[in-house]
Amino acid sequence: MDAINPWLDPSEVRHLAEQLLRPVAPARISSVDPGFDSSFVGFTETGNLHSTAAAPAPTSEKIPANRETESPTPKSQIQPVAAESMVPAKVVPAESPPKESPEPTPASPSQTRFKERIHIFRDWLAKNFNARDIFILDREGKVIFDESGHGRFHFMARNFALASRGSSNIHVKIGPSSVLEVIPCETPYGRIVLGTLVPESLPPGHVQTIIEVLIQTASPG
């Protein structure tokens, strides 16, 4: 079978085929979400989906649900959350105590620099690509920056990024002039996932530019 076997990985093919045969719990389609018009067809509920991508992903419930009360800043301003999760565990100094306390702690200089870089990136993305509702997930699927307020976007992006198995971007039209663009990106801290709403799907050249800028943004200063 020299004409075939050297060209593919039999165990991978079998694994992918078995995933397809595995029954998936029927998805419940939600009613129209706030912010979308009637052409929106709904999200798959996180509780019912036995994803073929088998994501050990945290659900959107882990995102602070009521950020308006936690932050004095207006809702329209950028609200990065848990920027410290961008730093992988192995680079945290050994003497640092585990952050179990829910009380806010002052941001370290490096965190501040990261926040600043993300703000700059966010503004650049919004200005050049008409991007809005920007969010970034870390290598574990946790939200490290979010201005969308839609936990389900995070869930979708997480699953699309896992299913893509590569570095290519994925876009899903969710309204007449709204496309959810999901861009997985390999950085020095592992794979992060950028999600944003854009009026039209982004051409490959723009995606490549965004990836390059995001890598710079996420790299240690």
Partner: protein, 264 residues
């Protein structure tokens, strides 16, 4: 109504032949069957009706969902067999490749077909998993994958499976009925070896037991604009598609049993 997409990663694998003859087999078995040509090339229409280049069809509905289904559905001499051509708007179909652009309208199309008491809606798609084909699979109940028994075709299988796993996130209820080997040439070592390789690669239930052989009768049927089942001397070919139909019915029945078991 059960909607079944017939899709493949590669072109030229006998997708339209399978779609036409499978639809004919369902219709002969008494199922009210609608065959929809969703390939902008319009091969189903070109195979079965001389007026296909004038008929409104599937892509016209995507462009204007206000078009009544009655204008799209073309009856045939077999009462239980109707078809919808690709239509005229397919000439201008230039999908940007993004998934979801047509999903809502395809679902509306299927709801409209279901309300007209069709039992089966078979959708012959364009090759490749992108654009409209993606949305058709995302809206369908089930999927059949024709796969030509030749080495290059088999090498494309991983890409196809990755794409389908991605689509199952959008459509978790998609029942992947399996891969159906087509254009098998028993007198050609490369073809039979490719078939054997696929049998070794895939789980048994993922591969249809019945395969479609390469046969001159398909060319003759295409020349006459007919399903092979209506040609003289086509009994062998008819058995092939009846057998595939029977396998599909068994797979659908098994899926229904699993679903009702899970619901309990």
């Amino acid at each position: 109504m059960i909607s079944i997409a017939i899709s493949s990663q590669k072109g030229g694998v006998g997708k339209t032949t399978l779609a036409i003859n499978l639809a004919h087999a369902f219709a002969r078995a008494g199922h009210n069957t609608l065959l929809v040509d969703t390939d902008p090339q319009g091969s189903v229409g070109l195979s079965l009706t001389r007026q296909s280049r004038l008929l409104p069809g599937f892509y016209d509905f995507l462009a204007d969902p206000g078009i009544p289904m009655e204008r799209l559905i073309v009856p045939t001499r077999l009462e239980t067999f109707s078809l919808v051509a690709a239509g005229q708007a397919s000439d201008y179909e230039a999908s940007d490749g993004s998934s979801g652009s047509h999903l809502a309208r395809i679902r509306t199309f299927l709801r409209n077909a279901s309300s007209r008491n069709y039992d089966i809606c078979l959708m012959d798609t364009a090759a490749g998993l992108f654009g409209v084909t993606n949305d058709i699979i995302a809206a369908s109940d089930a999927l059949v994958i024709p796969q030509q028994a030749e080495p290059l075709g088999i090498r494309s299988v991983p890409k196809l499976l990755i794409g389908l796993n991605r689509l199952r996130i959008i459509n978790p209820r998609l029942n992947v009925l399996g891969v159906c080997l087509t254009l098998l040439q028993r007198d050609l070592a490369e073809s039979t070896e490719a078939a054997s390789a696929l049998r070794e690669l895939l789980p048994e239930e993922m591969l249809f037991k019945t395969f479609v052989p390469r046969d001159d009768i398909f060319v003759r049927a295409s020349a006459k604009g007919l399903p092979v089942g209506v040609l003289e001397g086509s009994e062998g070919a008819q058995i092939v598609f009846d057998s595939i139909r029977s396998e599909i019915e068994s797979k659908l029945a098994r899926a229904r049993r699993q679903q009702s078991f899970q619901a309990q």
